[in-house]
Assembly symmetry: C2
């Protein structure tokens, strides 16, 4: 009967210390979300398969976890697929539900389904786990939390301004200073493609451009050539590779490069709006950078594109990203709802805070005092004491057994409990308790009220 | 392409108002858990199937949601089961993972897997969703949250005392006064069976006794007879049906009934310990009741059994339950770890608070002020204002578009935002903002600092 217990690969148990640190991040983010007027929604862990399938491409479909129908599921199995032993074809007839793959499609489904109850613009945030049957590797899990904020129902560029401010507010509140918020615009990328007369190769063009950081200018040129983009077209776009300087300088350079493209000029106008607003309201700790190579989910974004990089002294991929999309809910039949949103990469933010030692000490240190248990009579006195501490808002506990002193002190040490409280005959006669500081060894005989004042 | 969107039956979307109310309950419970020294853990949503299967009986196995293996899952399918088209037999070969069915088995798995990192006694709480392929009905869902607190690694009866206090603390903090915490002990039930010489029919006996409330004494007798319990044995136990009075009176009566049973006397001793401790530390708002018919998961519990009933003026099943178990981790190979725990029935508590109007008004009312948008120049002035409010800790937003006044005011009304803030030329010249109370219509022209003081 006994099994050596384990958990599925790509999943994690979280210990109390880890939960406390993760909650520190979640709580900080939520507090800022609320300050900015976002409201939480939650959607079910599994959706009807046809809500999810076909929304993330073939690769996405493959990575969606499917739930087997209950009961005698083979009764409704597609007989042809069964005879052919074709897993892919058989699946829809034996599985009608699937685990959430991201929060975006369920959000779109939510907006359409509840459109009559929602007051637009709808500012929602959502922090829930998602599941992907990806090959697990360092930092990539099969179950992980996503943390998204979106506004739908307004195409005001003030939203973009606010999302930059929101990133700044969250990372400042986490004391993670010096992140870089990179911004680009789909219309800039479209403008490039238009200027060089390669609109039909927009995707190939931007996918190659997006790699400038990694493979350098020569690599990008090579990839563009291999995709059939003409050599003189590439020559025309070369100034883009070398864009340097601050936001304003890059904008000036772009005005030259994109002078003949209407869509490109619209992109510049949008970027300038954001830049102007933010120059009137300076960011607290983040840097804003215009990165014209930034593409992310290009098929998806129609305007602004965001990505956040960790401070330069930390090696880490992006810790956040997002953008403007103009037809999220169209797949569910609700047209012309523009939206814009950002997400936070929880697991990477966790690693960055850990590396930089930015988690507050108090995070995992929530029990303030342990009452030592000397036996039945003393225990009752201690339980009366613990009740008073809790009533005073102090997290505290009594060791449940009259175990050896050493064992009880060890427990306090390992749990990082900063104070122990001892009470024997003398204390009971005086109506007091001896409070011992575990770090300094200092002891005081005090009333409960005094203890609450001192450690509460 | 457009689909009419819906969610799987038995699942729920939660709107911002609902999330806020649910979080009010969760946050209240968590705060008390922490005061009592419990620490949060989290486990994966899905476990290896062999961790879960066989732990909840045949019916439980049937209700566990199984996850289809990824890729060409039929390649590894059991050929015999496939040829027989036997769903039940085929399942283990095409599904290796399953969604969590409760929090207890994953907790046991966690304790065994991490036994070398854990400092015992281990006081953990866990608030996560579970999934059951049950037939959905009013108040029964296929995805719902469980909310458990357990201590493992100590058999001290002080734990039982603390769990009664914890129930009292949580329900008092929720302002749900007058709940009844019913307590029984497996050893009392064993004692009854021993006294009447029907130890081998303990389950049948207690299942029947548990129905006393619903089917009355005659019904219970009839069911016992039908299970082969002798008529004179039943006659001997009749005093149990009529137990009345307070805790102490019932204890006295039990001392007579169970005089010849060692296990029964041990049960009485345990109940008396709890009763004595609690008479020294009176509960705040809950009532404590000894209910000798209470059985719950009898096969599972070995000592105390708890159940919480809503206040008498509310019709609702139990809103919490728990008990002592002596071999939770044995199924995973770790013997002799005693544990005791309780759970809170979130969905029912929600319904009770709703029915009694106990949710605080402020719960869903988190945005304090909406800045009206009059156009680009005014909007920048408003965004500067909203930044200052947020820096002062006030949740606030600017309407993103310069829409018609009526539309913006409607939005504030529907979102229950208590203040709107207006700023045009005059306010901008004075460096002030007009604050309007949405309920009273009262208006004041104030500085940002004054506004933060007034509504923060």
């Amino acid at each position: 009967m006994a099994q050596k217990p384990s958990i599925p690969k790509g999943t994690r148990d979280f210990t109390p210390q880890e939960v406390a640190k993760r909650n520190f991040i979640f709580d900080t983010i939520k507090k800022e979300f609320k300050k900015f007027g976002f409201q939480a929604i939650e959607t079910p862990s599994f959706e009807n398969s046809d809500t999810l399938m076909g929304k993330y491409g073939d690769e996405g479909d493959r990575l969606i976890f499917k739930i087997l129908n209950s009961g005698d599921f083979l009764k409704k199995a597609d007989q042809n697929a069964y005879d052919d032993k074709d897993s892919l074809k058989l699946t829809p007839s034996i599985s009608e539900k699937a685990l959430r793959y991201d929060l975006t499609v369920p959000f779109a489904r939510f907006v359409v389904q509840h459109q009559n109850e929602i007051d637009f613009p709808f500012k929602r945030y959502q922090i829930q786990p998602v599941w992907r049957a990806d090959r697990p590797q360092k930092g990539r899990f099969r179950e992980f939390y996503q943390c998204d904020a979106d506004v739908v129902g307004s195409d005001s560029l003030w939203q973009e301004v606010e999302f930059v401010q929101l990133y700044d507010a969250v990372f400042s509140a986490l004391k993670l200073e010096g992140v870089t918020i990179k911004i680009n615009n789909r219309k800039i990328l479209s403008g490039f493609a238009e200027v060089i007369g390669e609109q039909d190769k927009l995707i190939d063009f931007t996918v190659a451009l997006d790699k400038l950081d990694k493979i350098g200018e020569d690599g990008v040129v090579k990839e563009m050539l291999s995709k059939g983009i003409a050599e003189d077209a590439i020559a025309q776009i070369k100034p883009v590779f070398g864009l340097e300087g601050g936001f304003a300088e890059k904008i000036e350079a772009l005005k030259g490069i994109l002078a003949t493209s209407e869509v490109g000029k619209k992109g510049i106008e949008e970027l300038e709006f954001i830049q102007n607003a933010l120059s009137e309201m300076p960011l607290k700790t983040a840097n804003l950078d215009l990165d014209v190579t930034l593409a992310r989910g290009l098929n998806y974004y129609t305007g602004a594109i965001f990505e956040v990089a960790a401070p330069e002294n930390v090696k880490m991929g992006s810790i956040g990203g997002g953008g403007r999309y103009d037809d999220l809910t169209g797949i569910f039949g609700l047209k012309n709802i523009s939206g814009v949103g950002i997400s936070f990469g929880l697991d990477r933010i966790y690693l960055v805070l850990e590396e930089l030692g930015l988690f507050p000490d108090a995070v995992a240190d929530d029990v303030k005092a342990l009452f030592i248990n000397f036996g039945e009579k003393e225990a009752l006195y201690s339980f009366k004491g613990v009740n008073a501490l809790r009533a005073g808002g102090v997290n505290a506990e009594v060791f449940p057994d009259a175990a050896k002193m050493k064992k009880q002190m060890n427990y306090a040490n390992k749990r990082n409990i900063p104070f122990v409280i001892l009470a024997g005959d003398e204390e009971m006669q005086e109506g007091k308790y001896t409070l011992k500081n575990m770090k300094t060894g200092e002891q005081d005989r005090l009333t409960l009220k005094e203890i609450v004042t001192k450690i509460g």
